[in-house]
Amino acid sequence: MALEDLRNEMETCRRCSACKFMPFEKVAGFQPVNVCPSISRYNFHTYSGGGRMVNGVALLEKRIDFSDKFMEVMYNCQMCGACDVSCKYAMDMEVIEPIYETRIKAVVEGHTNPALDKVINSLRKQGTMVPGAKVKRGEWAAGLNIKDCTKEKVDVIYHVGCQTSFNKNMWKLAKTTAKLLQKAGVDFGIGGENETCCGGRAYQMGYQQDFLAQAKKNMAMIKKSGAKTLVTGCADGYHAFKVLYDKFELKGKLEVLHITEYLARLIKEGKLKPKKKVDITVTYHDPCHLGRLGEPWIHWKGVEVPGHIRIFEPHKEFRRGTYGVYEPPRDVLKSIPGLKLVEMGRIKEYTWCCGAGGGVNDSNPDFSLWTATERINEAEATGAAAIATACPWCIKNFNEAIKAKGSNLKVYDVVELLEKAV
């Protein structure tokens, strides 16, 4: 749906500022209360969900154009979706969809950010969103005796993702995941050198055609493999396969699970038994693309019924973040003997972003780090010894913030903590 088609959504904004705050029912004190990193960092209304709606309409009416300032505002947003959820507590309107479409329109019309172009060039040439990677995709799996799903039939494909494949610091995460799947007796395989980027981050940056090219490549490979289930180790990958591929009607009947969902299932079925005590207090960070943005795509075709209240024929159910993946990672953590889970002030649908999304990691590393540092401060305030999460991009950003801040907080993927107990 093009930006032009979302005009009425943008014009439904009442400028109430709810997009800047966590849902008001859940406010439990003076802080924390903010949910949007962009308005929190830059303060002008322009950077909020509401400001983006106003300027989206202004762009269509040609009162403003893709100026340097417009581009700066547009890309200083992690596409975390917090504004969308908070708005939709009360309103029936799309917020993040026009924000996506503004970026797509910019790219189509040739207005791009050089730092993001570099990333996309890497995607086009090397199939990865990690430019300058010195290693090969799939190299992490050397010696682990994992099936190649492009050559052998498997029940489950483990899609590792760019960050885990090309950042050597993340290899232990991929290896741990593989070992747990092997221990549970899962018939799984990886794409190895033939795995390619899910394309999700390209979509977040506005490069829709590049995303679609990746999606088609991936689905062709998956179809050929015959696998019915795909498990991702990355929240962005989960969002791409589960939500975006479905949005563009490319997913078919493929079952897409995040690794935490799959591990929770294996634990429930008794195929993994966490027995060893792991004495640690952790707090869990919900990755945006697994949590609020991870809820299934809702296919709807219809029309708005003219009248004095916006209703649709047939009934339109808005995606509000209600059905994201919130409990499975927590279920895994709670299954670990000795582990104590404490919650931060902003969790689940109103979680504070890690800062890595939407291309901000590449286009504005300082803002990305600032956002991650906010989260680390919040995690420290819980008294936890570690922050656990379920996405390698979050892990990378948190580690950078911890290093910059000189914090003692540890960062774990949920998978790593489970492995200690199994």
Partner: protein
């Protein structure tokens, strides 16, 4: 109209370059062009501010205000900026007070809180509840500033037991139109926030009036609000994921009911009796449509509840929350209510009686999270007129007149058919009352808004003047003040003198207040 370079450079030196912008992209986002669709077709001019500033302290506000006076540039301040803060003409800059967001003090013993303008209702209420206190926050919602001078009249859902700004406003820090810092009430003499009238200068009537000056008389940079006893939980249990929140339990000694009555006179009598017995924590004369919007999580569900509730009410009614300070106190209030209900033939909406659904209603009304749903979700555009406040029995006349008016608009197909009764509320246990006509409609279409709002405004003004029903809280322009003034002891002349004296250069943009134009 570009700002002079030396003026802009001076802004940058006051605030730092990161806290001021004159870029069209920033200015445009404050102009709210989305409202263009609600304007008559002939209106094509959409003004922008010349620059937007983000002051972080009173000293920075003062410096900007003085600079504006020196350079003959107007300024307009706002906090959360829901309404009344748009640019209206050239040569005006914006003061977005977003960075002034601190709770300065919560004094549990003297029961007040001092806040900067960008502290929202949800934040202060949550902090107060931890301390066994609460405050009356703006009825427009928890998203609004809680500072009594930043939130219009300050009427809220707790006005039955917690009054409104006129009473709740304590000491104030004010940067006058020409840039003096004035500390009012006890702040002016003792540096403390506990009283608005002294020791120290008391200028409450001047800085406030019937409504606040809506950014037209300088900038209020901090203010203290009276707090009230809160016998409820420190935090309210809320489960589930937005917007499907569940509220598993009704706190002890709390009760919520929606009561409807066979006619307007009986409704008014029931309000009088509830007030006389002083049993109400909240009494809001919503019609059942607002109850439907409050619980519904989308528009379709809203319509479904509307239909369901319409079968469970018998006429106009009100929402009532009872809070006991002890089990005994609660029992007394509950029995008193039962007697009033029996004697007035009240019908209770069953869904509200349900303990789980009732707990949801209770929390949404106490936190005031439903106002956006009630007024804005239908089309993104709500309308009506903010009526006045007057002795409560005059509400009968207000209800009858406005419900006929609303019926006329419904019959013409101009607005949504969602019950004809206006919203009224009781203040200070029925001491006074306040009424608003709230309507939902699609504003798009040639001159639609003029047809609807024009008729409502004309009629509301006529009601007030001919019916002697107070001065409405929507009087916010030269034109309206000039119209009302002669009917109310020429107050507008005094208001102009105030404006002239405290803002001699007319720097504080006053399109929502009054200008010092010559009579």
């Amino acid at each position: 109209m570009a700002l002079a370079r030396d003026f802009y450079r001076a802004l940058e030196s006051i605030l730092g370059p990161e806290n001021v912008s004159e870029d069209p992209v920033v200015n445009e986002s404050y102009s709210f062009p989305i409202r263009k669709k609600t304007m008559p077709e002939k209106v094509t001019y959409m003004p922008r501010f010349e620059a937007v500033t983000l002051p972080g302290s009173t000293a920075e506000v003062q410096a900007i205000v003085k600079l504006c006076n020196k350079h003959k540039v107007q300024y307009k301040a706002s906090s959360t900026g829901w309404l009344y803060c748009d640019p209206v003409k050239p040569n005006c800059i914006k003061l977005d007070l977003r960075r002034m967001n601190r709770i300065l003090e919560i004094n549990e013993k003297s029961m007040y809180a001092a806040v900067e303008p960008y502290v929202i209702g949800a934040q202060l209420q949550a902090e107060l509840m931890k301390r066994g206190l609460t405050c009356n926050q703006c009825g427009a919602g928890a998203n609004c500033s809680v500072m009594p001078l930043a939130s219009h009249v300050g009427l809220g859902h707790m006005s039955q037991s917690g009054s409104y700004t006129e009473r709740n406003l304590l000491a104030v820090e004010w940067v006058t139109g020409d840039g003096e810092i004035v500390k009012l009430g006890s702040l002016g003499s003792l540096g403390e926030w506990f009283c608005g009238d002294g020791p120290g200068p008391s200028l409450r009537g001047i800085i406030r009036g019937n409504t606040t000056p809506l950014a037209g008389l300088g900038v209020y940079t901090a203010g203290a609000v009276k707090t009230y006893h809160w016998p409820g939980p420190a935090t309210f249990p809320v489960e589930g994921i937005c917007p499907q929140y569940r509220h598993p339990e009704m706190p002890p000694n709390f009760m919520i009911r929606y009561l409807s009555f066979k006619d307007v006179d009986t409704t008014i009598e029931a309000v009088r009796r509830v007030g006389e017995a002083e049993i109400g924590f909240t009494l809001m004369g919503f019609n059942a449509a607002m109850m439907a919007s409050n619980i519904a999580t989308d528009n379709q569900e809203d319509l479904d509840y509307l239909k369901k509730f319409s079968e469970q009410v018998q006429g106009c009614g009100f929402l009532l929350i009872i809070v006991g300070n002890s089990a005994r106190d609660y029992d007394y209030k509950k029995r008193t209510l039962e007697q009033i209900m029996a004697e007035t033939g009240a019908m209770s909406l069953k869904d509200v009686e349900d303990p789980v659904m009732g707990a949801g209603f209770l929390w949404r009304f106490i936190r005031i999270t439903g106002s956006i749903r009630e007024t804005s979700r239908a089309t993104g555009w709500g309308g009506g007129t903010v009526g006045g406040s007057d002795v409560f029995p005059l509400m009968t006349r207000y209800i009858l007149h406005t419900s006929n008016l609303k019926q006329e608009l419904i019959d013409k197909g101009l607005i949504m058919d969602d019950f004809i009764y206006p919203f009224i509320q009781s203040i200070e246990h029925g001491h006074t009352g306040h009424g608003e006509i709230l309507i939902r409609y699609n504003p798009a279409g040639p001159d639609h808004i003029m047809k609807v709002q024009g008729m409502l405004s004309r009629e509301a003004n006529k009601t007030a003047i001919e019916g002697r029903f107070g001065v409405p809280h929507h009087v916010w322009s030269d034109m309206l003040h000039d119209m009302y003034g002669p009917h109310v002891m020429n107050y507008h002349k005094l208001l102009r003198k105030i404006k002239k004296n405290f803002d001699p250069n007319q720097a504080s943009e006053a399109s929502n207040y009054i200008t010092a134009k010559d009579e």
